[in-house]
């Protein structure tokens, strides 16, 4: 079932166009990720949907409510996690006092708030931190508080703007695990932005690629990876790869494309792991090239570079 629909949304700040013509749909119990370069309009879109900004034109409906006419009703329906979680709650209140205040502003009764705090903090094993002052928490703990805050009123829809930004991999993993578990158990719908592409790959059911205020393409991570044109890559250290050897490898039948996303490594997209790898190794051996060599499968990073990086060269074999 369609939960959120945005059609032809435009937004500019003076002469700067942030969103040109964005159309997207979000279905119930789906995790949709917005991917794009910095300044591509992802945060602007989330802020419009979170009623923090007004759009210039276009139509947005959230659970049957028109954003232009039912702002108050819509504000009950979503939870929002913004980017700056280091400063996101009252520093000199305890976690519990903060959550109780935020819960009351959501119209919840004290008993409901306490039950929600208990339930949500159990997910994170966070009980021992509830009586600590917010200012005494670590970055990851602060982020946890903000996520709990966004879920206090049990919203069907959750906006997460870079939820693991600046967190260490262990905390980030914990938050991802929570989001997966919580959304599947509770049937929540998530709209998420992130620059951590493995995170998007792990969480998202569908991905929207943003560029210059437009959504370029929307599909599942698997389908998007297929559009890159190669399922696997062999990467060779660029500095040790002579031009002649590069040409020979490029002309191989099993090599479909090459991507230069990292100046130190050249990625050759191959159609078949065994034949492709063997053919490349043979050429390197024949030419006497000693270079770093590694294998990887196609990732969302390739998709990102392919569509948004401008570094891709596709060639016919």
């Amino acid at each position: 079932m369609l939960l959120l629909s945005a059609q032809n949304v435009r937004k500019s700040y003076g002469k700067v166009v942030a969103l040109q013509d964005v159309t997207l749909e979000l279905h119930e119990k789906e995790i949709l990720a917005l991917l794009g370069t910095n300044g591509s309009g992802k945060t602007t879109l989330i802020k419009i949907l979170a009623t923090l900004l007004t759009k210039d034109s276009g139509k947005v409906e959230i659970m049957g409510y028109d954003l232009d006419t039912h702002e108050s009703e819509i504000r009950h329906l979503f939870g929002y996690v913004g980017q700056d979680t280091e400063h996101s709650s009252y520093a000199r209140l305890t976690v519990k006092e903060n959550l109780q205040f935020f819960g009351k502003l959501r119209g919840l009764k004290k008993k409901q708030i306490d039950q929600q705090i208990e339930k949500l903090s159990a997910y994170f094993d966070f009980d021992s931190n509830l009586n600590k002052l917010f200012m005494h928490l670590s970055g990851g703990q602060k982020q946890t508080v903000v996520i709990i805050r966004a879920l206090l009123h049990n919203p069907a829809l959750i906006y997460l703007d870079e939820p693991t930004k600046g967190l260490d991999p262990i905390i980030a993993h914990k938050i991802r695990t929570f989001l997966k578990e919580y959304t599947s158990k509770e049937g929540k719908t998530i709209l998420l932005t992130s620059h951590i592409l493995t995170e998007v790959d792990e969480l998202a059911d569908r991905v929207v690629l943003f560029h210059g205020g437009n959504n370029l393409i929307t599909d599942t991570p698997a389908n998007l990876k297929r559009t890159v044109g190669a399922p696997e890559f062999i990467e060779i250290q660029a500095e040790n790869l002579p031009a002649a050897t590069f040409d020979k490898i490029s002309k191989l039948e099993t090599v479909l494309l090459h991507i230069e996303k990292d100046p130190k490594w050249i990625s050759f997209g191959i159609s078949d792991f065994f034949n492709g790898t063997e053919a490349i190794i043979n050429i390197l051996r024949d030419d006497g090239v000693h270079a770093g060599f590694r294998h990887r499968v196609v990732s969302l990073e390739d998709v990102f570079v392919y569509y948004l990086g401008g570094l891709t060269e596709k060639f016919e074999v």
Partner: protein, 288 residues
């Protein structure tokens, strides 16, 4: 087909815990509790404020001991002291009403909670009223001793003492509305502390905290008439001096001025709050 519902979320498995409008007073109450919890952790600040006020009272006592006022009526040293204290009490009771909403915006900017406040289905006006009430409750701790002192020193009866409190409340209402308007400027411009300083200077000097407005040049008197404090100080003095004070206008006119200012500024600030929020959201100010 989009998941349409007349009540938020009812067509879904996971309905939000609350979909009803949040009553104005619930927002006020929650904000008061939150602010008092924060203020509880800044007790030395309150002690410092109290010490500051005691120094002022001592200063008034010294000054009044060698001044005699000879205007349309004559005030002796004791009455001059009451003259100062009456205005001073009005100021203690309502002074923070001007600062509290701005402080609240600054605190929300500092703590990063402004986005949460502005994406919530609450009355923002209630939020600011809550901050003023919390500050007033805290200020009562220092107000009450000085108030009791005035009643004792000036020998006021119940009616006069009550009238002073009523004046203080009306000034508070007007100042709160002015404070909310300043908070709106803080939302738009961020830096309004210097503007606050100018206003406080006006309230102290022009509104007649230390000198009778009737003795000012005409132009300054007209400027004073636009300030709620002018009427607050004048009425408080009238009651504190047990009627031995020439008010600028008859007291019923001054009560009316004060009441009208309180209502006018409240309506204006409520209207402007909506306007500023719309402007901020349209212009994409990074604050909200």
């Amino acid at each position: 087909m989009i998941a349409k519902s007349t009540k938020p979320g009812v067509s879904l498995d996971n309905a939000p815990l609350s979909g009803k409008p949040i009553p104005f007073w619930n927002v006020v109450k929650a904000t008061v509790v939150k602010d008092l919890q924060i203020r509880k952790r800044y007790l030395p600040d309150l002690l410092g404020f109290f010490a500051q006020l005691i120094v002022r009272v001592i200063f008034f006592l010294i000054i009044s001991s060698f001044i005699v006022y000879k205007g349309p009526i004559v005030l002796n040293s004791r009455e001059i002291f009451v003259f100062f204290i009456a205005a001073f009490l009005t100021w203690i009771f309502s002074g923070n009403a001007l600062y509290a909403p701005v402080d609240s915006v600054n605190s929300d900017l500092l703590n990063g909670t402004l986005e949460f406040i502005y994406s919530n289905p609450i009355y923002r006006y209630g939020y600011y009223v809550g901050t003023v009430i919390a500050n007033t409750l805290v200020d009562l701790v220092v107000f009450v001793p000085f108030y009791i002192f005035l009643i004792w020193y000036a020998g006021l009866n119940f009616f006069l003492a009550l009238s002073i409190i009523l004046v203080c409340f009306l000034v508070l209402a007007a100042m709160m509305a002015l404070g909310i308007m300043l908070a709106l400027l803080a939302l738009l411009w961020r830096q309004v502390t210097s503007l606050l300083g100018i206003l406080f200077l006006l309230f102290e000097m022009v509104a007649g905290a230390y000198f009778p407005v009737a003795q000012y040049p005409k132009a300054l008197q007209y400027l004073a008439y636009t300030l709620p404090y002018t009427w607050g100080y004048d009425l408080a003095r009238y009651f504190a001096l047990k009627g031995h004070w020439n008010t600028i206008f008859p007291i019923w006119v001054e009560w009316t001025f004060l009441g009208v200012y309180a209502i006018f500024y409240t309506v204006l600030s409520s209207f402007l709050l909506k306007k500023v929020e719309m402007t901020s959201k349209k212009q994409g100010l990074h604050i909200i």
